[in-house]
């Protein structure tokens, strides 16, 4: 079973929930791998004291243009949805702007004379890390300046699932509701959306739910810092018929525990119970 921990808004507690659930599952002797797909800032490892055991590069297509073969017809520019190509016959120039290229290969398909060939560039890294007690984390990380995080996300999930068979994969998703969120959640069986009862939290959660509905992807909601803000979140979810599977209260103890890079399930028994109950609900889905 693959479970993604996602949100619309950033900073609602995805990594907080993912890392604590992961530790708890490991303590309960469940076969689980944590997959950190928040590839722009993967930080699950901060809470887990890990050592790296394996690392490999993620590469992606970039066009290699042979100007001697190019007829400057401009079809590659027409095909490029991202304005990453320019073609100026008068200046004898056809060129890719690598920062805009997403590696879709449309230009190579477009070229009628085969002047564009595939070049591979490094766009990220996938690293396998292990905790002292043998729990495994697979982390994706994109190279700074890379336009698209999708290749790194795909490689991270593929590596985790193909190399480390497990009963459960907990997948820490990137924030937002755009391609990185869609790619990550699409690879999982169920999505746990972590939100907070604020106007921004609600607005972004609504978008996340709409997106998942359009993908026919089942999801449940966890409200973090549930005693802050107002009732708008609860009322909205009730009206929409969405089940809230956990309400984690705001607590200075939790905040300072998280801020010092430790886990609630290790340090704060009175809050550990929230994760035990949440896990039970997730496993019953």
């Amino acid at each position: 079973m693959k479970i993604s921990i996602a949100s619309g808004k950033g900073g609602t507690g995805k990594t907080f929930v993912a890392t604590n659930l992961f530790r708890l599952m490991h303590l309960q002797k469940k076969s689980v791998v944590l997959v950190d797909c928040d590839v722009e800032v993967p930080n699950s490892h901060v809470f887990l004291e890990t050592t790296d055991v394996e690392n490999h590069s993620v590469t992606d297509f970039r066009p290699d243009i042979n100007l001697d073969a190019c007829t400057f017809c401009g079809r590659c520019v027409e095909y490029c949805h991202f304005n990453a190509m320019i073609c100026v016959p008068g200046a004898h120039l056809t060129k890719v702007i690598p920062d805009l290229c997403t590696g879709c290969t449309a230009c190579m398909v477009a070229c009628p004379v085969g002047a564009i060939t595939a070049n591979q560039i490094e766009v990220g890294q996938v690293t396998t890390k292990v905790t002292k007690d043998g729990a495994r984390l697979v982390e994706g990380r994109i190279k700074v300046g890379t336009m698209s995080s999708i290749p790194a996300i795909n490689a991270t999930v593929a590596h985790a699932t193909s190399h480390y068979p497990a009963d459960y994969y907990l997948v820490d998703s990137p924030p937002g509701t755009s391609c990185p969120f869609i790619q990550t959640t699409a690879k999982t069986d169920i999505v746990v959306l972590v939100t907070e009862p604020t106007p921004f939290g609600l607005s972004d959660l609504r978008q996340a739910m709409d997106t998942l509905d359009s993908m026919n992807k089942p999801y449940r909601v966890v409200i973090n810092r549930s005693d802050l803000g107002d009732d708008a979140m609860e009322n909205y979810l009730k009206e929409r018929g969405v089940e809230v599977i956990s309400r984690i209260p705001f607590s200075k103890e939790i905040a300072s525990c998280y801020a010092s890079g430790r886990l609630v399930v290790d340090e704060l028994p009175k809050y550990k119970v929230y994760f035990e109950q949440l896990l039970e609900k997730i496993l019953a889905l």
Binding site: V77, H81, F82, N83, A84, M85, I86, C87, V88, P89, G90, A91, L93, K95, I97, D99, L100
Partner: protein, 105 residues
């Protein structure tokens, strides 16, 4: 020689458009004939790479100089490579006043 000026509207009394890639119009002024051709910018609503799209459009028109309020970091090296001169103009200038300045030079 063709000189391009970014413009908010398609008339010479319009002030310059402060965006280059997403300018509403490009005034293409021909210094040889003293004629202006107005070009709607079809990359204006594109999500990515509006600047590059505009460079592709204007370079293929044969522009030798471009007047704009600012040029982005992806656009500058491209225009350098294409040997198209970048002229930075003030935000409140009209297309007409820039043409006057070009004529004086």
């Amino acid at each position: 020689m063709k000189v391009v000026i970014t413009s908010r509207e398609n008339n010479i009394n319009s002030i310059v458009d402060s965006r280059f890639g997403r300018a509403a119009y490009f005034a293409v002024y021909d210094t040889d004939t003293d004629q202006i051709e107005w070009l709607g910018n079809d990359v204006v609503n594109t999500q990515h790479g509006a600047g590059t799209g505009a460079v592709n459009l204007l370079a293929n028109l044969g522009a030798k100089k471009i007047c704009a309020v600012a040029f982005g970091t992806k656009v500058k090296p491209l225009l350098d490579e294409l040997d198209i001169q970048m002229i930075v103009v003030k935000e409140d200038q009209t297309v007409a006043s820039i043409i006057e300045l070009l004529k004086k030079k």
